[in-house]
Symmetry: C2
Amino acid sequence: MNLISVTDIKHKISSVGLKATSQRIAIYQAVMKLKNHPTVEMILEEISPLHPSISVGTLYKNLETLVEVSLLEKVKSEEGNYRFEANLDKHNHIYCSNTKEIIDYQDDELDLILFEYFKKKKLKNLKINDIRLQISAERLNINKEISIQ
Amino acid sequence: MNLISVTDIKHKISSVGLKATSQRIAIYQAVMKLKNHPTVEMILEEISPLHPSISVGTLYKNLETLVEVSLLEKVKSEEGNYRFEANLDKHNHIYCSNTKEIIDYQDDELDLILFEYFKKKKLKNLKINDIRLQISAERLNINKEISIQ
DNA sequence: TTATTAAATAGGAATTATTATTGTTTAATA
DNA sequence: TATTAAACAATAATAATTCCTATTTAATAA
Ligand SMILES: [Mn+2]
Ligand SMILES: [Mn+2]
Ligand SMILES: [Zn+2]
Ligand SMILES: [Zn+2]
C-alpha cells in the first residue's frame, strides 16, 4: 500500500489532469507516508527537509486540489483543524482522546448491518449519502498497538 | 423542552457553581431556543437585539464554560467551525449538505445494535467511550420537513 | 443593607488556521 | 525549442477563536 514509485505517482496525478510538479508529488507522497491523518503542519514538517522552498500556500492549495480530484480525503479533527489521508476506501474513524490520533477502522460486516437497518426505515424528504461511525476511544497503553477483532 | 423559566435557568446555572449573570442566562437561553446547532455568529445575532453590549469574547468564554459544566455540547460542523446545542441526550447527527443544517437523530434501537455488535469484539489496548453516527444526507425539498421512521 | 471578594465582563489585541493575490516559474504540448 | 496554461513562492488578507486587563457584578456574610 505504501510502496508506490514516483513514476506511478506521476501517472496518478497526470491521469486526473493535473501537472505532476515536484511539489505536488512530494505533498502526495508525504500524506501517503504519514499515518494517523496528518495535519497541514505535520505534512509541512515531513516535506520541509527535502523541499525547503515549498510555501505554505502551495501546500494548502495542493491539498485542496488533491481532495477535489479524489486523490486525498479531508477529515475534521476533534481539535478543529483539518487532517488529510490517502486511504480512499470507505472506513470509520477512531478518535483517541489521549493521543489525538485518528485511527482507521474498516468493517464491511458492520457497514452491511447499517445498510440493512436503514433500508427498512421510511425516509421522508431525505436522501442519505453516507453513514460513518465516529468512535471516541482511548489507547490504554500509549506504547502498544491497538486492535479490534 | 423549550419552556423553561428564567428562574429555572438561574438555578441550573448556579447548581453547577457558576454565577447566574444576565449574559450567561441570555446565552444559554439562546442556544436552547435556536435549532439545528447554531454557530457562534447565529447565537450572537439571537442575543444582540436584547443584549447589545455582550461582547464576542464573553460569548465564546461562556459557551466554553457551559460546555465544561455539561450544560451545552459542542459539535464540529462540516464547514470547520464549532456549533452548539442544549440537547444532552445521546444522539446522532444528520448533516444536510445542501442546507448546512445539523439535525438530531435519536435511535435507541440502533444504539443497542451497535452496543451488542461491539460487545462481541475483542478490543486490544483500546477503551471505547462513545460511538456516534455521522449521517451525510440532503433534504430533497428544502421547504418540507424531514423524518426517519 | 452594606461591605467584601472572587468571578465575570467589555473591549480590544493577539493568535491560529486558512484563503486570496500577484508577479514569476515550470510542466506539458506541439 | 517555443508556447502557454497551470502552478509556484512570497506575502497580504480574512475568519475564527483565544488572550489580556481594567472595570463591573453576583454571591456571601457581617
Ligand atoms: Mn488513514
Ligand atoms: Mn439539537
Ligand atoms: Zn481515515
Ligand atoms: Zn445534536
